[in-house]
Amino acid sequence: AQTVTQSQPEMSVQEAETVTLSCTYDTSENNYYLFWYKQPPSRQMILVIRQEAYKQQNATENRFSVNFQKAAKSFSLKISDSQLGDTAMYFCAFMKAMDSNYQLIWGAGTKLIIKP
């Protein structure tokens, strides 16, 4: 069975700083997807970034980038130049590439607070 672990329940940084959220996972699959989702306070969860395991290049989306270490089963999210609007719960998730039901396995989440 797959598991996803986020070891940081809560983090806080000053605005404009860079912050890295950690995620590790366990799987015997070779082909899979990894995700970071963001849940702002009282708003919908949205997809921040997605990584395909067979791609060696780390995914980036503007200020958001990942450090994907397949052998170490590590998938961290880096937020550069953090903004107040980045305050949210962040969830790491895993999905088998051949999962026809598109089921995601979720971490417990990290609460990120950006301080002005």
Binding site: Y37, Q44, I46, R50, Q103
Partner: protein, 113 residues
């Protein structure tokens, strides 16, 4: 703009009451999901549906049932609410071939007294 709408943001119910949580999506997505979100536990899948009238149990289906009579609507039913079902409930949808991109509603916070 894509949208998933959950009928109630906040509900307070009494133990033993029947509870309906409604979810509607306007993206013509095939797949719909009901999750339960609790602090420190992440999201846990209750039920999902990949087609009209089709449903599959997730990780924690006990005490819940679902209904999908139309493609755009997926309902979660608590037949007899209990205090341990106090939680945040999230509905999500995705298209087949969407590679894990889920679109979520704002959530329904249920309190059972």
């Amino acid at each position: 703009d894509v949208k998933v709408t959950q009928s109630s943001r906040y509900l307070v119910k009494r133990t033993g009451e029947k509870v309906f949580l409604e979810c509607v999506q306007d993206m013509d997505h095939e797949n719909m999901f009901w999750y339960r979100q609790d602090p420190g536990l992440g999201l846990r899948l209750i039920y999902f549906s990949y087609d009209v009238k089709m449903k599959e149990k997730g990780d924690i289906p006990e005490g819940y049932s679902v209904s999908r009579e139309k493609k755009e609507r997926f309902s979660l039913i608590l037949e007899s609410a209990s205090t341990n079902q106090t939680s945040m409930y999230l509905c999500a949808s995705s298209r087949t071939g969407g590679f894990g991109e889920l679109f979520f509603g704002e959530g329904s916070r249920l309190t059972v007294l």
